[in-house]
């Protein structure tokens, strides 16, 4: 009974107040907790700091937990960002469109279209002003052709495969001139 009671108030006092006087009092009281005060008296000053350091170490552990919490948060946010980006790509179906010779690219949603012709119309609206006669994609006499980069990173001519297969594999679009298209990329 007498031995068990002292630790709690001492700990509370230590946690509540951080004055040196109280710590001194604590150091003086702790020897009494031991069975042999005379024998332990010379060593008690050394033992007390270790005990307090242990308590501090416990505090350090708490801070470590806080750090882990932060790490967890960072990991979660990173994962969330990655998922959100991927979600956007899959959900919205937006792909980049660049035209040779232009600095600024555009983005189109391939899922908004049901065929190559409607896509050609949108690209005509976006890039048609760059040429006097317009793009006239997918037409024999046009000087422009549309190529796309598939999921494997290969550049292919748009229009060769059915529309449904095209929208599943297209990752990027590029409007190039026929002469340039002949060159291997």
């Amino acid at each position: 009974m007498y031995c068990s009671d002292p630790p709690h108030p001492l700990h509370l006092v230590a946690s509540d107040k951080q004055q040196k006087d109280h710590k001194l009092i604590l150091s003086w009281k702790k020897p009494t907790m031991d069975s042999d005060p005379l024998g332990v008296f010379p060593n008690s000053p050394k033992y007390h700091p270790y005990y307090s350091q242990t308590t501090e170490f416990g505090g350090v552990i708490d801070l470590g937990l806080s750090l882990r919490t932060i790490q967890h948060e960072i990991y979660h946010s990173s994962g969330q960002r990655y998922c959100s980006n991927e979600g956007y790509r899959r959900k919205w179906g937006y792909v980049k469109v660049t035209m040779d010779g232009l600095v600024v690219g555009r983005k189109v949603c391939v899922l908004d279209h049901g065929s190559y012709s409607t896509l050609a119309h949108q690209l005509e609206d976006m890039f048609g002003m760059q040429s006097v006669s317009g793009l006239r994609l997918f037409q024999m006499e046009s000087e422009f052709c549309l190529v796309y980069r598939d999921e494997e990173g290969l550049w292919r001519n748009a229009g060769d495969v059915p529309w449904n297969e095209f929208i599943e594999s297209v990752e990027r679009l590029r409007i190039t001139r026929r002469n340039d298209a002949v060159l291997p990329f």
Binding site: S52, G105, K107
Partner: protein, 174 residues
């Protein structure tokens, strides 16, 4: 001579008798002094230990908040550079403070004292003389307004307001 020697010895013995009590007292005093010194040393050790224990705690406590605050800043703030062709200096804005394209474009107009106009999928700001563009994570310059706001704000790294005549410029201009 023998008597003298005996006398000397006796005197020495006498001296010894006198000296013993004195020596004993000195030894006791030394012991007391050593006890006092040891006590002082113990006190010093206690104070030193206490002094050493408190600073690390404070240092550790101080060390953590900046990390948290910096993380919070990173999560809640998204500053990007904004440049405009012909303007003498760059600006920086926090994309997190805007909720949609109209707010952003309005802020850019106020910042650079220009009229950008409204977005149009077909012409894309054509007619106003200025074209807002952004550099995405891949390093490509794209037109502002084609994709949903959340997608734009999460991938925008930098903004640039080009003049209408520069927008269709060749790659060599960059």
């Amino acid at each position: 001579m023998a008597y003298e020697k005996v006398n000397e010895l006796n005197l020495k013995d006498t001296e010894l008798c006198l000296g013993l009590p004195g020596r004993t007292e000195k030894i006791k005093e030394e012991q007391e002094v050593s006890c006092v010194k040891s006590n002082n040393k113990r006190l010093f050790e206690e104070t030193r230990d206490e002094e050493e224990s408190t600073p690390p705690t404070k240092t550790q406590i101080v060390g953590w908040p900046p990390v948290r605050s910096s993380r919070k800043n990173n999560n809640s703030v998204s500053y990007v550079k904004v440049s405009m062709d012909g303007a003498p200096y760059l600006r920086k804005i926090d994309l997190k403070t805007y909720k949609n394209y109209p707010e952003l474009l309005k802020a850019l107009e106020n910042m650079f004292k220009v009229m950008i106009g409204e977005y149009c999928e077909r012409e894309g700001y054509k007619g106003s003389g200025f074209v807002p563009t952004y550099e995405d994570k891949d390093g490509d310059w794209m037109l502002v307004g084609d994709v949903p706001w959340d997608m734009f704000s999460s991938s925008c790294k930098r903004l640039r307001i080009m003049k209408g005549s520069d927008a269709p410029a060749l790659d060599s201009s960059l």
